[in-house]
Amino acid sequence: MTQSVEHSNLELVELRIPARPEWVALARLAAATVANRIHFSLEDIEDVKIAVAEACAAVIQHDAHGEFIDLTCEALEDALRVRVRDSGRHGIPAAGGVVNFEEARTAGLGIFVIRSLMDEVTYDVDARSGTDLTMVKRLQTPSDV
């Protein structure tokens, strides 16, 4: 008896990684794999990888980040939606903020890069609730190119 496991068009990948630099490559790889599944071009896959890495780096560089980063990659019919949140924020004081100017400037650069590479970006960074960033990249049709 043959049974297909692909009953739905929806492809959803959820990944929890420790909020540490050495794990960001895994988040990049996961997002790239989902983007590849819905036939993004190589260039667009690279854009997604960079955007995910920037989002993870923004979490990690925040001085009051949580223990984990939760990544959700959702393959829609004509787009990829990626959500990056930090979690495990136990006992983190309300007064957060970035430690130094150099890091703040780099973090701002990261958000700028994300906005440049992705089609839709919404994010909220709060010392108490953490980082919650959702970004969408639409699949290019031949007429778009």
Binding site: V24, A25, E46, E54, T106, A107, V113
Partner: protein, 113 residues
């Protein structure tokens, strides 16, 4: 995932930093240390070869910007060698093409270092 850093002396007061691999939030401290060590030794003319870099994010850009700021205080320069379109794209969208000298070959980068 790793970054390889090789530093070599070039003609004049210039040093070349060869980078190979991925420059991200995990690997950029290693690049920062290599560039910082050179500047601490009084090397203010740097050519950073990105030809074998497959990936760079804003933390990597931050390291390069930091190095550039330091050498400029001494009248120095940081020139980049880069032909990878994906890497150049990051410099384009961030406007850093106007800040760094970006060259197609090491020879061209060293001529103006």
């Amino acid at each position: 995932m790793d970054i390889k850093v090789n530093v070599r002396e070039a003609p004049g007061d210039c040093y070349v930093v060869d980078l190979s691999g991925e420059i991200d939030v995990y690997t950029s401290p290693k690049v920062k240390d290599a560039i910082g060590d050179l500047i601490d030794r009084g090397v203010y003319y740097l050519v950073i070869n990105l030809e074998k870099v497959r990936y760079i994010d804003s933390t990597g850009l931050g390291v390069l910007i930091g190095g550039l700021k330091r050498v400029r205080e001494h009248g120095g320069s940081v020139n980049l060698v880069c032909t990878n379109p994906q890497i150049k794209k990051i410099f384009d969208i961030t406007g850093l093409v106007k800040i760094f000298g970006i060259f197609e070959s090491e020879d061209a980068a060293m001529k103006v270092a």
